[in-house]
C-alpha cells in the first residue's frame, strides 16, 4: 500500500477543505472521526476517499460529541487523530475538548467558522473565537492556529499535529467557511522531505507489560475529589502551558515597525488588513498590520511593542468584539487608543480597511491641515 500521499513539491489549485485533508494525510494522521456539518463536510469527503489508499481510517459518528470522544479514544490508543467541525458542532465539540484539556490528550480539531449564534449561517464568520480559544468549563489550555490563506492552511495543519503531540495540548486550526470553500493555489509537500520535525505519537493506555505486575497500571482521570487536588493537578498543566507558550506563539506583521495606524486582524480578515495597509501606504498614510497566528497562546510581547509606537490601534473582525476584547486585555496599561470594527458574520474587504483607517488618519491629521 502507498504510504506517502505526497512526493516532491506539488502545486495545486484547490479548496481549503481539500487542502486540510491533504495536509492531515501528509502529517501522518491515521484517523479521522467526524460528523457532517457545513462548511467543513468536504474535509470528511476528501478524507473518506483518500484515507483507504494510504491505510488510514475514517468513521462517521452519530454526532459531534461522539466524533470528539472517538478521536480521544484513538489518541489514547496512540494514534495521530483529528476531527473537524463548525458552529453548533463546535459547541458540542467543547465537551470532548474539555476532557482533552484536562487529560492532556493531543487531539487536533479543524474548525470552519460559520455564522452564529445558533444555526446562524452555514457560510462564514469569526464568531467562534471565544469558543475555540476559551470554550469548555476550563482555562483555555489549548493551542489555536488561525491561518489566513491556503498555504498556511496546509503548513499549519501539518504543524498542528506536531505541536499537539510535542506539547500534549488539544490543538485547533481555526479556519472559516470562506477558507473552506474558496479555491486558490497551494504547494503540497511531504514534511520529511523538507526536514520538518514531526513529534511522534505514543499510546497512553494498552502499553506493554502486565499492569500491576510488570508496571503500574495507567489510571487516567478527569475528576478530583477535593478542590485542592484539582488545583494541584491544574497548576501542573498551567505551568506546562506557560513554559511551552513562548515556543508556540507565532505572529506576522506587515509594515508595522513605524506604523501610526496599526490594524489588528486574524485569519482571513488579516489578508484584507494587509492589502488595505498596502493601499494606505500608497496614499501616504503610515498604516501597518499585525496578526496573531496563534490566538492561544497569544503573542503578547510583539503586539505590545508595535502597538506602543502607534497612534491608534484598530481591531477588525467578523465578530462583535471577540478579538477586540482579547486585544484590549493584551494591551492593558498602554495609552494608545483602541478602536474596533465589528462585522459579525460578514466578510471584511481591503476597501473597508482603507476607509476605516482613513477616518482616524483624517481626524488626527486635521489640526495640522
Amino acid at each position: 500500500m502507498e504510504t506517502k500521499p505526497i512526493r516532491g513539491e506539488q502545486r495545486a489549485f484547490m479548496t481549503g477543505n481539500e487542502v486540510i485533508a491533504w495536509a492531515a494525510l501528509a502529517a501522518g494522521a491515521e484517523v479521522m472521526y467526524g460528523y457532517p456539518i457545513t462548511p467543513q463536510s468536504e474535509i470528511m469527503h476528501y478524507w473518506a476517499r483518500l484515507a483507504p489508499r494510504y491505510g488510514r481510517r475514517f468513521l462517521q459518528t452519530e454526532d459531534e460529541l461522539a466524533a470528539g470522544f472517538t478521536t480521544l479514544g484513538a489518541v489514547l490508543a496512540g494514534e495521530v487523530a483529528f476531527t473537524a467541525t463548525a458552529g453548533p458542532g463546535n459547541v458540542l465539540m467543547q465537551e470532548p475538548l474539555s476532557m482533552a484539556e484536562m487529560m492532556r490528550l493531543p487531539a487536533v480539531v479543524i474548525i470552519a467558522q460559520r455564522g452564529g449564534p445558533s444555526t446562524g449561517t452555514v457560510i462564514y464568520s469569526q464568531q467562534e473565537f471565544n469558543l475555540t480559544c476559551y470554550g469548555g468549563n476550563g482555562e483555555g489550555l489549548r493551542i489555536v492556529y488561525s491561518p489566513s490563506h491556503h498555504q498556511e492552511l496546509f503548513d499549519y495543519t501539518l504543524k498542528a499535529f506536531h505541536t499537539a503531540w510535542k506539547y500534549r495540548f488539544p490543538t485547533f486550526i481555526l479556519g472559516d467557511g470562506y477558507q473552506s470553500k474558496m479555491r486558490e493555489p497551494v504547494t503540497l509537500y511531504d514534511p520529511a522531505e523538507r526536514g520538518l520535525e514531526v513529534a511522534p505519537s505514543r499510546p497512553l493506555v494498552g502499553v506493554p507489560g502486565t499492569p500491576g505486575r510488570d508496571r503500574p497500571p495507567v489510571h487516567l482521570r478527569n475528576t478530583y475529589n477535593l478542590e485542592e487536588e484539582l488545583y494541584e493537578a491544574l497548576q501542573e498543566t498551567i505551568e506546562a502551558y506557560d513554559r511551552a507558550a513562548p515556543e508556540i506563539a507565532e505572529w506576522e506583521a506587515y509594515r508595522a515597525e513605524d506604523a501610526e495606524y496599526l490594524v489588528v486582524a486574524h485569519g482571513v480578515v488579516a489578508r484584507a488588513a494587509r492589502e488595505g495597509v498596502r493601499l494606505l501606504r500608497d496614499a501616504g498614510i503610515r498604516a501597518g498590520a499585525f496578526r496573531p497566528i496563534t490566538l492561544r497562546p497569544f503573542p503578547q510581547k510583539e503586539l505590545r511593542e508595535m502597538a506602543s509606537r502607534a497612534k491608534t490601534v484598530l481591531v477588525m473582525e467578523s465578530s462583535y468584539g471577540q478579538l477586540e476584547r482579547e486585544i484590549r486585555a493584551q494591551l492593558y496599561g498602554l495609552t494608545v487608543p483602541l478602536k474596533g470594527y465589528r462585522r459579525p458574520g460578514v466578510g471584511i474587504t481591503p476597501e473597508e480597511v482603507v476607509r476605516e483607517v482613513q477616518k482616524y488618519a483624517t481626524r488626527s491629521a486635521a489640526p495640522d491641515a
Binding site: E62, F69, L76, E95, P203, G206, P211, N222, T223
Partner: protein, 262 residues
Amino acid sequence: MLPARLPQMPEVWRLESKPHKFCPGCGHGIVLKCLGEAVEELGLVDRTVFACDIGCSLLAWDFFNLDTVQTHHGRTLPVLAGLKRVRPELVVVAYMGDGGAYAIGAQHLVASAGRDDPVTVIVVNNTVYAMTGGQMAPTTLPEEKTETTPYGRRVEENGPSLRGPELVASIASPGAYVARGSVARVRQLKGFIKKGLRAQVEGGHLAFIEALSTCPTNWRTNARETWRFLEEKMHKHFPLGEYAPAQAVREEGGGAQPPRKS
C-alpha cells in the same frame, strides 16, 4: 508483621485502592468482583483497557490493575469505540450507570449497537442517579420515590421504566451478546460477563450486560430492605437472562437462551 492471610480478592483488584470508594452495600463492588474474576479467568489481564463513565462508576478509575480511562458522563462508549478501531488487539470494557447509558449517552449506545462495535458494555442499573444524590433515572420503577419524583414516578408524566437489554437486543447485530444479570445472582452475572468478554474477543461483536444493582444510600434502605427491593421489585420488572445472545458463544454451547419476555 505479615498478615495471616491476604484478603481473597481478584488479583486484578488493586489492593492499594481498597477499601474501594463505593458506599456500604453498593452493588458496584459485586459487579466489579465478577468482572475482575472474569478477566482473570479468561487470561485477558495483559490486554484489557477498562473505561468508566461519570456517575458512581467514576469511582472505579483506580479500582483495577488495568489500564483505565475515566471519561465523561455518557461518553465512555465513543471513547472505547474510537480506541478499539485502531487497537483491535485490546479488549475494551465500558463501565457505566443507567443514566449514562440510557439517558445522556443513549445516542452512543444506539450507534454502537447499530455498528456492532466490539466493546463489552456493562451497565449498572440501580434505578437512580446515585452520585448526584438519588434523582430519577430512565430505569426508575413506576411509583418509585426519588429526589425528583418525591411522590413516586408517575408513568403518565415520565413514561415507564426503560429496559436496556431489550432495547439493545432489538437493534443489535446477530452476533452481539445481550444479557441482564443481578448482584443477587452472582454466579450467573459472572457467567454473563465472561460470555460478554468472549463475544468481543472471539466474535468481534458488541456485548451488552446490564447488572441490576443496589443503592442503599439513595434508596435509604437497610440491608434487608435493599435485597427485597432488588429481588422483589427490580427482578420482577427487569427479567434476568440472555437476549439475542452472541453467535460465537451459542456455537460453543454456551447455554444460549431465546429472549424472555416479562
